[in-house]
Symmetry: C2
Subunit: 405 residues, 2 copies
Amino acid sequence: MELNGNILIAQGGGPTAVINQSLAGVVLESRKFMQVSRVYGALNGVCGILNEDFLDLSQESSSNLEQVALTPSSALWSTRDKPDGKYCTEMFQVLKAHNIRYFFYIGGNDSADTVHIINEHARQSDFEIKAIHIPKTIDNDLVLNDHTPGYGSAARFVAQAFMGINLDNKSLPGVYIGVVMGRHAGFLTAAASMAKQKPDDGPHLIYLPERVFKMENFLYDVKNTYDKYGRCIIAISEGVQDEFKKPIVTSLYNQIAKDAHGNIQLSGNGSLGDLLANEIKDKLKINRVRSDTFGYLQRSFVGCVSDIDQKEARIVGEKAARLAVLYNVNGSLTIERTGSYSVDYKLRPLQEIARKTKYMPDEFINSEGNNVTNAFREYVRPLLGSTLPAIHHLQAPRVPKILRF
Amino acid sequence: MELNGNILIAQGGGPTAVINQSLAGVVLESRKFMQVSRVYGALNGVCGILNEDFLDLSQESSSNLEQVALTPSSALWSTRDKPDGKYCTEMFQVLKAHNIRYFFYIGGNDSADTVHIINEHARQSDFEIKAIHIPKTIDNDLVLNDHTPGYGSAARFVAQAFMGINLDNKSLPGVYIGVVMGRHAGFLTAAASMAKQKPDDGPHLIYLPERVFKMENFLYDVKNTYDKYGRCIIAISEGVQDEFKKPIVTSLYNQIAKDAHGNIQLSGNGSLGDLLANEIKDKLKINRVRSDTFGYLQRSFVGCVSDIDQKEARIVGEKAARLAVLYNVNGSLTIERTGSYSVDYKLRPLQEIARKTKYMPDEFINSEGNNVTNAFREYVRPLLGSTLPAIHHLQAPRVPKILRF
C-alpha cells in the first residue's frame, strides 16, 4: 500500500558536524517522490511536534540546503525530551492533523527509542505512519552499526587536537590530560591515538569507560611514562568508572546535575581533569601538569570535518527517504563495513537498536587497559577522512659540541 | 662593518600555529648570504644555547623546511627560562665558541627581554653579536605592533569554536562559558565576537582583563541575556581581574602553581569556568550551564590557521634575516598596519618592546565593559585570514498551525 501525504524530519540529541548532511539527504531525496506532498521540518525535535513548530522545507532552496549541509550542529535545533505515552498521544494528534505519513528522526540511541515508541503507538492507532531512525552520534555507540555519522568528524577533531597537543607538549614538556566526551563508550577518546606517529609521540596513555579506572594504576602508568620520556600525554573519557561502575568524577563532585534522561552531567565542567591533575601533582610531585576538557568544542567546531563522514551522513538520509517511501517500511538505518574501505547501508528493526549501547570491543583495547590496539587504529583510520593534516619535523643533524662533551 | 660567521635561531615561550613560518623565513633567507657560514638552530630556546644543543639547519632541505613551516608548535622546541647575568655569561661562551654573529629569537615579550639582555651583554663584551627579536604571541600583547604573528590563527580558532558553540547552544539552549587564554590582554577572547553574525547569535557577553570583573554585574548581564534570548554564551579571558588587580580565579584556587617568570597559572585547569558556572546555577537558578576551558587546543590545533598570519609570520622571519645581515643591526621586528588591509615591517629598539604589555585600547571595548565594539571587529577581521568558514541557516517559512494558535 502506498501512503500519500507529508513527510516530517527532526533532529534529536547532541549535534554533530554532519547531522545536516542527513537532513539535506532526506529533504532532497524525498522531494523527488510524487506521493510526498510536503516536506516539513520540526523545530527542536519531538518538542516541535508537540508544539506544531514546523518549517515547510518544500520551500527551502536546494542550493541553500547544500550550504546548510556543510554547517555543523542541528539546523532544525534539538531537544533532550523523551516522549512518554501522553506526549506520544499529543504528538499523534499533530501528525494526523498535518497528514504526516513518514517521520524521520536523526539522532542517537535515545532518539531511536523515541522513534520506536512512535512506531508502536502508530501500530495501535488508526493512523498509519512510518517512522525511521537515522543514526547520528559522536559517541559511536549505536549497536549493529560499524560506526555512526558524526563520529568520524568528532574523531578527527580529537586526533587533530592531540596532534597539536603532542607538539606543544614536546616543545614545553610536562603532563597533559585531555578529557574527551564519552559516557559509556570510549570510541571518541580512543581516536586520540591517531595523533601518535613516532614512538615517543603522545598520547602515551588512553583510558576508556570500558575498563575499570584505578587511581593507583593510573599514577603508576603516568610515572613510568614521565620517567621514560620526560613528559606524558593522557587521553581520558569523561565517563571513566571505578570498580563499582561509578564515574570517577562523582567522588569529587557532590552536587551532580542530571539531564532528562537520568544521565549524570559529565561534560561542561573541568572536574575530572582537575581532580587527576591534582593527584599527579600531589602524589608524583610533578610540577607542570595541565588538563583541558574538550567539552563542546569537539562536537560542533566549525571547519573540522571528515569527508567520508559527510558522504555517509548524506547517504543515510537519502537511503532512509528512499526505503521509507518506496517500500513503506520503518526501522533504523545502519552502516555496515564491507571492505577496506567500503560500507553498506541496511534497515534494521528499531528494537534491536533503541536503548542499547555499543562498547569498544576487547580487541580494540590493550591488555593493560591503558591504550588502544593497532586493530582500533586500522578501524578508525578511514573514518577520519582523506585529508588529515600531516606533521613534519626538522631533520637536520646535530652540531658537534665544542665546550661541553 | 660586516660580521662573518654563523647564525643561530631559537624559539621561546608558548608555541603558535605559524611560529615555524618565521623559523623557515630566517633559515631560507639567511642561507642566501655569503657572509653566513652556517645556520644553527638551538633546541629549547636559550636552554639549548647553554647546553650547546644545536641543529645544523644549513643541512636541512628546503622542501622539508616548507613542510615544517606548515606544522604548528615550535619545531626547535621551547623554554620558559629567562636568562640572568650568570646564564648570559655562560651563553656567551657558547656563542663565541661557535662563532655565532647573529642570533634570532622568535618569541613574545619575555623573549624580547631575553634578546635585550643578550644585546646588552654583547655591548659590554669583546665579542660582537647582533640579536634580533622576531615577534610571536597568540596573546597579541606586544607594544608597537598592530598585531603579532600567531594571533590571527589562534583568533581564528577561537572564532570558529564560538561559531560552533553558538549553533550548538541554539540547538540545545542554556548558558555556556568559554574560557579563553589571555593573562593581561583580551585580544584573543575578543576574537570570539567574530562568531556573531545574526543579532541573537552568541557570544552575547565578552569579559576581558582590561576591565574590572564584578560578579554582581556579571550575573546581572547573564540574567538579562538569558531572559531575552533564552540562552547566553559568554567568552571570558582566563585573566579577568577584580578591582584589586587580582585574578578572579585566585579567590577559588588556594594552591597556585607559578612558572619561572612568576606568572600565576591560569591555563591548564577548569577552575574559572567551574566557579562562574556554579555562581550562575546558584544565584540565577539556571539549570543548564556549561563551561569549557579552551586551554592548549587554541594555540596548537593542527588544521586551523589564518593564511594572512602564515604569510606575515614568514615575512617577519625573512625581514629579520635581511636587516640583520645586510645592515648589521639589532632590535625587534614589528608589524604596522598601513591600510585596509596592508602592513609594513619595521625594526624597533628592543627596550621599547621588552617587558611591556599592550592592552586592548578603549575604543575596542564597549562602555558596559561586557563586549567589544565594531572598531575591534574591523580591526580583527583581516587577521583571521581569507577563508573563514561560512554559517548557513534554513530559510524555509513556517507551516501554519492547525491545532494550536
